[in-house]
Symmetry: D2
Subunit: 242 residues, 4 copies
């Protein structure tokens, strides 16, 4: 008997890890990241705790790399259905005055988010469409940000990428929703409480988003029946200005 | 020992009832509706099933009626904290060509949604602010609709009301979020599967929103920690055009 | 030979006056305001300069008052077509913490903007629909604000009113656009340079919106052919944060 | 004595040509297109009519090609100020089911709109910033589409590109507005009446956008003073569904 699968793209020590832990309570999870150091400790942690996890080094902005990862998954998990796929690839984006940006720097936002989201969606959608015997509708969730809705000064690269990702998510929700696949877009508006931001101080306590709580919302979206699909949810700390 | 309370305004045989049942799993629920026939069967059902429910006849568009209901609640449930309040008051709105609308008909949308939402929020916010010992942050959720985002032809009354309610929800989220109250706005985009719509046929099955699934999403929003408040979520059937 | 008419509702010493002057270059203008002191100097100024202007004391939130004004107009200007109508009624709204608002204060936003916009639209649309021989399509423009898109803390009354007005404008554009009436909504995002704000100092010069420039945009919208109707335009000073 | 300049990127027989003719009434216009056949007749037409026009073959998605064009402009028009720059590069995008899209096809939307908009903005903004002695603030306008706001099924490539372009426009407006450059984004929502769409029949007459009217709106935006910059305007035929 094989568990259904969940594929999480973009797993570091933050939100991606929390999502992986949450979905590993029900599914066998596959973690994609460019750097194995980003998923190795988590794979060990989940497997040790009685779950099932596998990491595959994948460059989401490279279609060959994504297809290779998906090939490995379909072979290794033959007979398992894909229940959920989460695109949570982070920034690495450049924030600088517009006239100092190179074309390559500007394109990084799209490479990471637009092309990355495209490659991931093309890889997982055929599996989501053919999934069978699942408790919940097969689900594809994209992680957005403040920059999904607002192009701020000096953020043109990241905003262009996140706007493009939101366009993709809307287009896929409209095409694949009627085919039974639940496509969602979560706008994470604020600083997330991860190792990299531990030192960031704010006036109020609890001013940073809890990655485990974000993961709970992703799980909730996944459990919705097809009569009642949530498309977009915005999450922010109670003290966030917006 | 007293359970925390949840107040649901706008309880008929549809979404409000599902929300009441869901929140009654954890809380003592108080149901507000203009007509006792709308809550009597549900109150009996919940109490029979081992929960606690009380119905109070209330006209949400009348501030005196709302304050009277709240007075009754604070007396009767002295010592209980208010954990959640849901404004789910329905339409009763008029859909007709603009030049045939009377001023009274046009104002119905605002009376029901804008003023109703105002009266409800003014009544429950003081209780939510002083709530203590709760497992989850005190929560105030407003029910929106397609008309919260789009003013369609012949829908000016309802859209004006739902736009006003969304403005109110945003304003309250920004004022009371930093005070620890979770304010949310759920956009229900589609036809809900309730007795009144049972006969409505659609091309696809499962084309109507499931009120129990809507209620699950309200409960999920309620359980979010203050680090990670969701403000807006849109829900629609998988085959809905949008 | 009679000039076509333009009706401007909400005329004080600011934007309304600039709009009136701009439209008076082509049309006979009728100015509506609750207080004759708001239009008397302007009526004199326009008539002295060779234009045609008339002021009518009107309470836009009172349908009888609006209908009485329209009756006077149709009699006095028998045979003239209504070319443009502008709803520019200002705030008078209350900005205070939500729990200090009375129901009446909260409703002021809707009374002024929602009901005011409704009454005005019901009065002028029949005239716009029957207008003949005009150079440009008959036009109905509503004035919005920052609060048309965002419900800020302490602004629930004004935001509820401005959201409702935008819902109305959208609904009317969708119903009356296909009938040849151009309905627009202009979002004025920032402080306008009027006598009341003269003393307000900003870090940069030219930080306040110029009412004459706003009026030029209203006129531009009016001149668009029905093939190319603009619905929404946002205006703000170059240094405005948004 | 040299006239100020206007650069129009994306000139074919439709909107770009109308914009060029409109701005040629005041400025010396430079037309950029990949294919000289797209601007040659227009250059001849404008020059014959007493205006000044020059066409430069440019691939907007290639930064070298854009910089080469700009180099030619700065040399040839030494001493002239750049008054306006319009990015009106069209689609060439692929509309097909998502799973049939290649990575290259998906990226075309971003290559054309995102990267094209970036290259154009990087080329013209230094010239706009140093412009002197102009009657109106230097202006940069981007052409959007329905797909700037909505990712429809089968339109992921085009929507990703247009969303990215809107993100770029917002970011530039916020960075360069305070430096005196007027950045705008016009959403053209509907079919434009150009040679390619001449045969398209609609139920109503005048159901296609008039490119000359679009051009008038671009010119109007250009003439706004810095106190009163319009950022976004949506244009559609009076019978368009939206």
């Amino acid at each position: 008997m094989t568990k259904p699968l969940a594929i999480i793209a973009g797993v570091g020590p933050g939100t991606g890890a929390s999502i992986a832990r949450r979905f590993a309570q029900a599914y066998s999870v596959i973690l994609l990241a460019r750097n194995a150091a980003n998923f190795d400790p988590l794979v060990k942690e989940i497997n040790t705790a009685g779950g099932q996890a596998l990491g595959i080094r994948t460059d989401l902005s490279d279609s060959k790399s994504v297809h290779s990862a998906l090939d490995q998954i379909t072979k290794q998990y033959h007979g398992s259905s894909l229940a959920a796929a989460v695109f949570n690839v982070g920034g690495g984006f450049v924030r600088k005055p517009f006239l100092e940006l190179t074309e390559t720097e500007f394109s990084q936002g799209f490479e990471s988010q637009g092309k990355g989201g495209f490659n991931f969606a093309q890889g997982v959608l055929p599996l989501l469409l053919q999934a069978k015997g699942l408790q919940y509708p097969p689900t594809l969730i994209f992680t957005g940000a403040t920059a999904s809705l607002k192009g701020s000064a000096n953020f043109s690269s990241f905003a262009a990428g996140k706007f493009a990702l939101r366009a993709l998510a809307q287009s896929l929700a409209r095409e694949f929703g009627p085919k039974g696949v639940h496509v969602s877009h979560v706008i994470v508006d604020g600083v997330i409480d991860i190792p990299r931001t531990k030192a960031w101080q704010f006036e109020h306590e609890d001013a940073k988003l809890d990655p485990d709580a974000i993961a709970d919302s992703y799980w909730h979206l996944h459990t919705q029946p097809r009569t009642t699909f949530g498309f977009e949810l915005d999450l922010r700390p109670y003290v966030e200005k917006w």
